[in-house]
């Protein structure tokens, strides 16, 4: 079994994994970081979005071995202790989540949008979320949350 090493949420980690292990499986099953979710088997739902070297990525589309040496951030790596990241706080303030299952992927995806476009319009947000499915919120409050989060991050 190949050994993979990477930094996850700022910590160096290393493990022997089966070659077919996906990054999301590695995060969930080897590291116990179960905040990253699996909602489909065709890379469409976006519940597994994490950041790899600063870019959002569906962690079911990458083998753990492909992330060798990478810098990975998951939903668990965002808050500062009990203090939520401004984007997490925006979701809380604007009721941007219901069952919570799509939420980690939504937040991680939203952060990548905002780093690429610090002042997105509602339409920008709606189009960006093409790769993230939510069945609970009708997206109304997710869009509102991301717009508020973008504003907060811009300061």
């Amino acid at each position: 079994m190949p050994t993979v090493s990477m930094a996850v949420n700022g910590k160096s980690v290393s493990a022997d994994v089966e070659p077919r292990t996906l990054l999301v499986q590695y995060l969930r099953e080897h590291l116990g970081l179960t905040g990253t979710h699996v909602g489909c088997d065709t890379s469409q739902c976006g519940a597994c979005v994490v950041h790899v070297n600063g870019e959002s990525l569906k962690s079911c589309t990458m083998l753990a071995a492909q992330a060798e040496g990478a810098d990975v951030t998951t939903i668990e790596g965002l808050a500062n202790g009990d203090e939520l990241h401004p984007m997490q706080e925006a979701f809380r303030e604007n009721h941007g989540l219901q069952c919570g299952f799509c939420t980690p992927g939504m937040v991680m995806s939203a952060l990548d949008l905002v780093q690429k476009n610090s002042d997105p319009s509602e339409q920008d947000v709606r189009e960006w979320l093409e790769g993230n499915l939510c069945r609970c919120t009708g997206y109304h409050n997710i869009v509102k949350s991301i717009l508020a989060g973008a504003k907060a991050l811009k300061g």
Binding site: E18, R20, R28, L33, T34, G35, T36, H37, V38, G39, C40, D41, T42, Q44, C45, A47, T74, I75, E76, L78, A79, L84, Q88, F91, R92, E93, H95, L97, Q98, C99, G100, F101, C102, T103, P104, V107, E122, Q123, V125, R126, E127, L129, E130, N132, L133, C134, R135, C136, T137, G138, Y139, H140, N141, I142, V143, K144
Partner: protein, 792 residues
Amino acid sequence: MTGTGIGASIKRVEDQRFLTGNGSYTDDINRPGQAFAWILRSPHAHATINSVDTSGAEATPGVIAVLTGADMAADGVGGLPCGWQIHNKDGSPMAEPAHPPLAVSKVRYVGDQVAIVIAETRDVARDAAELIEVDYGLLPAVVDMDSALADGTLVHDDVPNNRCFDWEIGEKDTVDAAFADAQHVVSIDLVNNRLIPNAMEPRAAIAEFDRSTGQYTLHTTTQNPHVIRLLMGAFVLQIPEHKLRIVAPDVGGGFGSKIFHYAEEAILTWAAAKVHVPIKWTAERSESFATDAHGRDHETHAELALDADGNFLGLRVETKANVGSYLSTFGSSVPTYLYATLLAGVYTTPAIYAEVQTVFTNTAPVDAYRGAGRPECTYLLERLVTKAARQLGMDPAELRKQNMIQSDQYPYQTPVALQYDCGDTPASFESALKVADYLGFEKRRAAAEKTGKLRGIGISTYVEACGIAPSAVAGALGARAGLYESAQVRVHPTGSVTVYTGTHNHGQGHETTFAQLVSESFGIPADQVEISHGDTDQVQFGMGTYGSRSLAVGGPAILKACNKVIDKAKKIAAHIMEADVSDIEFADGKFTVAGTDKEMAFGEVSLAAYVPHNYPIEEIEPGLDENAFYDPLNFSFPGGAHICEVEVDPETGNVEIINFTAVDDVGRVVNPMIVEGQVHGGLAQGVGQALLEGCVYDDDGQLLTGSYMDYTMPRADNLPSFSVATQSVMGASNPLEVKGVGEVGAIGSPPAVVNAILDALAGLGVEDISMPATPQRVWQTIQDSSVRQAAE
């Protein structure tokens, strides 16, 4: 005042854990020494099982066990039960063919369970399943309802014509007489498209058996853990309640699809006692598509009789409903008592008769999906009434108003069993018309025309029955269970509170809203209240969450228990303050003696209850912990009006929702922020049904829409921001005066969208379009329209 009681939009308690990745969904849970299961499923829609050879799988290193339907049958395991018995027109009971959790002699749909492989890892289990050799004898599949009723292929050998039941409601003769007097008869044929629920969390389960105690524990993605305990324990595996614990931890959405007792729950629990290690199973999305119970799937012919002035005289409805291959837990109740009892809608139609045939086919079981029967009913009525307005040359808003039940007519007895307790549809309709600027629409249509777009406006007014359900009524109609709810309110010594509720929170925000109820009742801040749910070892009993029942039935149970706590606390306070209990008043978290300045805070009394040094010990027991069961007197009846405005691009067939207005009457609102969120979500599912979603099987029973590449889920850029408001008449059938909000969005919205599209295309002579109105279907409808055809 705490500021956290009823009516406050406080932020949700549950969000902190979900936003930081600390939720605990079933697949996030791991048990020591656990093994993993893979379910081998039928690739065929209909086939006999001639033999199953498991030897190759069993010989695979890492495989612990391979078990089949034959093993289950040998152990005397029962079939999955149906929870609601419907009777045929002639009084005989519905057909209830056996539903073995693992198929024994025959498979009946693609995805039917054939074997379970238990192995040390999921990959090994999955790989080993490939080595199981099943000799199938292929049979022709029946997929559509007409063929199922007509031809000789039987899904179940003991169910002639594949008819599950043939049921009726209403008085046929009265309706026939109304039609004989009619000046106008408007008829319509509709398909209510089959949907796949698609909660974002796939189903999952972990089963364990403790040999030393004989105790079973099942973690499962369910909306109603006690119901699963009852159904699986009593009917399938014969495990008594005290030896069976069901835990429903965080659940990632349900929408009805996680109500039902699924085969995998029974298979895993049964197998856990054989292998003596915990067994974990998580569905892949493909399995969810194929095996989660689907929703809707009706074909209906209906006729509305009107007099010369447009007054409704009678309604006649014939519906065929697909129940799939097996009767799911509540599959029989959805197209009957949750559907046809609402056929009066918001109108005074004096005579209504409906017949419903349900049909077995070689497709996944069909059961409740957000709205369950009520969206099908609303779609039928609101399409039909809109068509009637067009046929009579009337404004669809005016025709509705003319026939609408007025606020002074409540309680209103419908001709189809239900009595609506209260409501005011004319008021919510007027508000919606105003917000949507209905009167200004023609100007907007003309403006759109200049840009080459066809603009249309569509109306839907609706009422639904939820708060499921008064047990006596449900029992008389065939329910095999009571539908009350239970609560336990445990006040701790220092005055904080834990509430145990039998409902289950999977996105609805109960941990917040229910704490607000207690905050209101005890005058303590909501953050002093913890809501516990989902574990049958903690919660005394419960019927779970579906049918918009949690606040309307579970809420009053909490209120009742709170009132018992207050009654007891008053006795304690009276003793300590040396007053008569009749002089004790309780408000804003303080017990006071009337006419004096004596007072005790809530926490002081609770402490006295647990440290009973000065205590009326002859009169009452120590402690402050009360439970209650609440059974509602009637259903609750939310309703309202939805108005949709669309622009159709005639070149591409694309439909854009420009505005969507929803004014809903949901009774008292506990948390306005959460209520709005519930409406948004329901609307998205309704818009999804109207524009995007449709389950398709081919003629061989293969599921063509089995992934997110083939089944179109609503995405953010398919939807607008919604304009939602509540305009409520306080509920009349429960002490909280609430009605329910979980399903209203999905119930009211589909006909509003389709009526808007038909309004946009009316100038082309288009009178009908089916859901989902995809761009391709809209474009084709435009090409086939009488105006286009005449022009060519």
